[in-house]
Each structure stands twice: as C-alpha cells, then as structure tokens.
C-alpha cells in the first residue's frame, strides 16, 4: 500500500507541475498579462507601468517569474480581486459551497438512475429497454446543458410554475425546504449528461462482471439470479465506477458552470463568468488553478479509495 501511495502521490505532483505551467502560460496570454490590474486604471501613465514592471520583477526571465508565481501559489498567496480587494482564495471560498451542493446532488441523482439503467441494460441485453437506453444516452450526450436548462425553466417554472426559475434561495426565507425547492431543477439539468455516461459505463462494467468465474460459481451454488446480480455482480461492477467518478470531475465542473449561469446559482462557475465580465483576472486565474487542483485531488482520492476497497490493485 505504501509503495502504491507514494507512486500515485508523485504522479499527482508531476501533474500539478504541468498544470501550473499551463496556467502560467494562460496568465501571460491575458491582455496586459500580470499587469492587467493597473493597465485598466486611467490615471496610470506608461512610465508608471514601466516602473511597476520593474518593481514586480516582470523584467526578469520568464522562468524566474514562473518560480516566483508558483511559490506564492504554494504559500496560499493567490493575489487579490480587482473588484473588492479581497484575497482570491477567500472569494473562491465564498462560492465553493454552492457549487459543491449542486454537484453533489446532481451526482447522487446521476449515480442512482445511471446505475439502475446500466444494470438493467446489461441483464436484459438487446431488449427494447437496452436499445432505448443506448439511443437515449447518445441523445442526452448531444443536448447542450444550458439549452436543456432553458427548456426546463420554460416548462417547469414559466408554464407549470412548479419550481423557481433561478437563484439558490428566496431572500428572507432561509429554510431547508426553500433551498431544496431551488435545487431540484438545476441538479436534474446538470445530471442529464452524467446519467448517460454513468449508465453506459455501468452497463459495460456489469457485462464484464457477469462473465467472470465467480459468477458461474455463485450460480453453480444454486443462488437465485437476483442474489447473484445484487451480491456478486453489482459490487464488482461498481468498483471501476469510483475511478469514473474521479475522471468525470472536469466535465461535471464544466456542466456546473453553464448550469449556474442559466439558473443564476451563486457558485464558482457564476463567479468565473462574472469575474471575466469585470476583467477580474486574479479571480479568473485563481478559479482556473483551483478547479484543476480540485480535479487532480479528486482523481487521487478516487484511486486511493479503489485501492482500499480492492486489494488486487494495491498489491498487484
């Protein structure tokens, strides 16, 4: 286990290094580069900008600037927002909960429905249900999430009036029920794509598990088909799904961004878009790096969980 952990941890660190290099590249592509903050201020003359450049060390070679930037990132000094001067990490921190709430709920929905569709598709292979699920998944993967959100709002809040059209809660009403009411539609919208992905993978994993020897043994013992599936097949089929949950993180975050935009949900995606609108580049860069780190961390955790549950991986 220790060898596995060290190996996996070093992989993540290398990935972090590469991600930071890409991030630094994007930072230098932004208009005005790291100086954008001051370039927007009309009272600044070119001389002022040149002096600032000197002071901030932007005349040094790029690799020194990179080391400096990465070192400050590691220390938790991610700069300050142009808008209100608050530290970037604090600004992001204020929006993390809303995004995690939305992502968590929609992932739970996706796992529950996707697992069911996947298992049923595998146990009733080539049935009408299986064919419809296959086609349905392909169509679901083709629908733009933001458009699905717009159609959802039109039908369920504008026409039927069942759910609110946006925001996380009604101002002046902080009850859990009110939060839940606002949460329903965006989390269903966000889960659509992941129900599709989850069900396809679950179907493959279930078919894989069914063809294993231990299933034959279980059947030979005379267990009922239901028990064989529930006890021996599903458990084994769910293992690769833990890895999948980690791998899907970037696409869930992407989906969250557009969903939050359509539903004016106060999360990280909404913050990213608002910050872009205000040219608040420190927050934009912060979110870019924060989301990548979140993804690397999520994959690491998923792999460790799989290793804990499945001895074949940590020993093999």
């Amino acid at each position: 286990m220790r060898g596995f952990l060290l190996n996996r941890l070093s992989q993540s660190l290398i990935l972090l290094l590469i991600v930071s290099l890409i991030g630094f590249l994007v930072l230098n592509l932004l208009p005005g580069g790291p100086l954008a903050q001051f370039g927007l201020d009309p009272s600044m003359t070119q001389d002022d900008l040149d002096r600032l450049k000197e002071q901030l060390g932007l005349n040094r070679p790029l690799w020194m600037q990179y080391l400096d930037w990465a070192w400050r990132l590691l220390q938790g000094d991610w700069g300050h927002s142009f808008r209100d001067g608050a530290p970037v990490l604090a600004v992001i921190g204020r929006h993390v909960f809303a995004t995690l709430l939305l992502m968590g709920t929609s992932t739970a929905i996706a796992i529950a429905i996707g697992t069911w569709i996947g298992i049923r598709g595998a146990t009733h292979r080539y049935s009408l249900f299986d064919h419809l699920a296959t086609i349905g998944a392909m169509v679901a993967l083709s629908i733009p999430t933001f458009w699905f959100g717009l159609v959802g709002i039109y039908i369920f809040s504008l026409r039927l009036g069942w759910v609110p059209a946006g925001n996380m809660y009604t101002i002046g009403d902080g009850s859990v029920l009110n939060y839940l009411h606002h949460l329903i539609l965006p989390s269903i919208v966000l889960s659509l794509v992941h129900v599709a992905i989850w069900s396809r993978y679950m179907r493959t994993a279930t078919l894989d598990a069914i063809s294993q020897d231990f299933v034959k043994t279980a059947r030979a013992k005379g267990l009922s088909e239901r028990r064989v599936i529930m006890k021996h097949v599903v458990g084994n089929a769910l293992l690769p799904m833990i890895t999948l949950a980690g791998v899907q993180l970037p696409s869930i975050l992407t989906g969250a961004l557009v969903t939050e935009t359509v539903f004016t949900w106060p999360g990280m995606g909404r913050l990213f878009l608002d910050s872009l609108g205000y040219s608040d580049y420190p927050v934009v860069m912060g979110l870019l790096m924060f989301s990548a780190i979140l993804v690397i961390l999520g994959n690491l955790i998923a792999d460790i969980v799989v290793a804990i549950v499945d001895p074949r991986i940590r020993l093999g």
């Binding site: 290398i14 990935l15 590469i18 991600v19 290099l21 890409i22 994007v26 592509l29 932004l30 208009p31 086609i135 998944a137 392909m138 169509v139 993967l141 083709s142 629908i143 733009p144 933001f146 458009w147 717009l150 159609v151 709002i153 039109y154 504008l158 599709a196 992905i197 396809r200 993978y201 493959t204 970037p250 696409s251 975050l253 992407t254 961004l257 557009v258 935009t261 359509v262 990213f272 878009l273 872009l276 040219s279 934009v284 860069m285 979110l287 870019l288 989301s291 990548a292 993804v295 690397i296």
Partner: protein
Amino acid sequence: MTALAANAEPSRWWRSRTVRRFTSHHLALLGVAMIAVLTLACVFGPHLLPYDSLYIDLRARFSPPLTGDHYLGTDPLGRDVAARLFMAGRTSLLVAFSAMLLSTLIGTFVGVIAGYRGGWIGAALMRTVDGFLSFPSIFLLLALAAALKPSPAMVTVIVAVTSWMEVARIVEAEVRSLREREFVLAGRMLGLSGTHIMFREILPNAMGPIIVAATLTVARAILLEAYISFLGYGIQPPLPSWGNMLEGAQQYLDSAPWLAIIPGAAITMAVTSFNFIGDGLRDALDVRDDRV
C-alpha cells in the same frame, strides 16, 4: 467515404465489409441523412427564403413561428429566425469542422510521436495531455477566449487547443501497440527513417480509431462553440452562430420561447447526428473502445 475506401479493396469498395456494416447501422444512416439535410439547408436555405438574415423589420418584432412568410418567427429586431438559423449553421458547422481538422492534426502528431518514441519524450507528451485534461474545458476555453480576441478563426483555434487530447491518447495507445509488429521491424531493417515509419507505415494502420475520434470531435466542437458563444465569448454578432443566437434568448423565454428552442434544437440535431455516425463508424471499422 474516401477514407473508408482506402481501407477496403481498391475495386468495388462499396461492397466491402466496412461499408456493408456501416449501411446496416440504422442510427448511423439516420445521422448521415440528418447532416445532409442540415448542410443542404444551410447552403441553399438562405437563397430560397424571402428574407435576408440581416434584414431588420421593427414592425414585425417577436412574430411567433408561422406568421406570414416568417416560418420560424422573428427575433427582437424583427429579423427572420429561419434565415438566421441557416446562416448561423454555416458558421457553427464550419467552425466545428475546421476545429476538428486542426485538433485531429495536433492530436495525431502528438500521439504518433509519443507512441513511437516512448521513453521520456513519450512520457512528457502524455503527461501534458493529462495536464490539459485536468482543466474543466469551459474554464480553459473562456480564459483563452477572454485573452485572445475571438474572431471565428480564433474560436476555431481555441476549440481545437482544448479538444486534441482525446485523439492524442487514442493514437498513442494504437501506435504503441503497432510499434513492435513485424512490418515495422521490417521497415527498420530496410533502413527507413523514423519519420517515414511513423507517418507512412504505422499511421495508415491507425486510421480507423482516428476517423472515429475525429467524427466525435466534430460533435464536441459544435457543443463547445455553442457554450462559449452562448456565454458571449465566442462568435460575435452580427455574424450569427447557433450559440450566439441563444445568447439573449433567456430574457425573452416567457414571451418568445421559440428564440431559445429553435437554435438549441438545431444544435442537438447536429450533435446527435455526428454521435450516431461516430457510433456506426466504430462498429464498421472494428474499433475497440471503452468510451461511451
């Protein structure tokens, strides 16, 4: 279809197993038909419709579909939605197709080098692929779009830069497995250069997976362009694209829902078609693939 022909016998390629399998895949045929209809509509539609896509008629603002000659209604400026939809289709399909070509080119190049050379070059290239995949694609796309002023060409480049990784991974795995085969060893013994072996001997044998991945990349590129244009950072008006037609649609959702529904339906139709075609090609070309 020429690409399919290359894999089949030189004569009577239309009777080859690959073509037979593709034509027995009903969804793939449906996809081809839908794309054909969409493309024809986008090419010829604007010439057949009574209104120009840029013609503003403020007296006819917000006409619902099927009012007079406005078959799909009009937008907040009284412009004909059908004409705009077809002109937007030209932009969106062209951008997506060019982005696919560019990203397939980048991905294939990186994948072939990484798979054939292996060693630290291969490791460095594949870790870079992992690095790009760690960013949520929209975050990276939007940051780049904000940094570089988004002309249609730039949008194409940005979309390609954020979607070449899948192709690279597929090609790398394929080339790595082909590297030790006899025909490659024979090529080496004949003294062929590394470049010749990589691109003239190995690459043609990896065309199947590349074609499938390229088809799915078109679908992905249409979606990505739609996302960033919807958010206002992609194709800029007055040049219409399916994404930017949806940009202002949310504020009129209650009074003019067709403004949101129609372009989105076109996007879904195009993307579904390319996904269907990709699925059919995967079966026809015998590509093993664990992805959806």
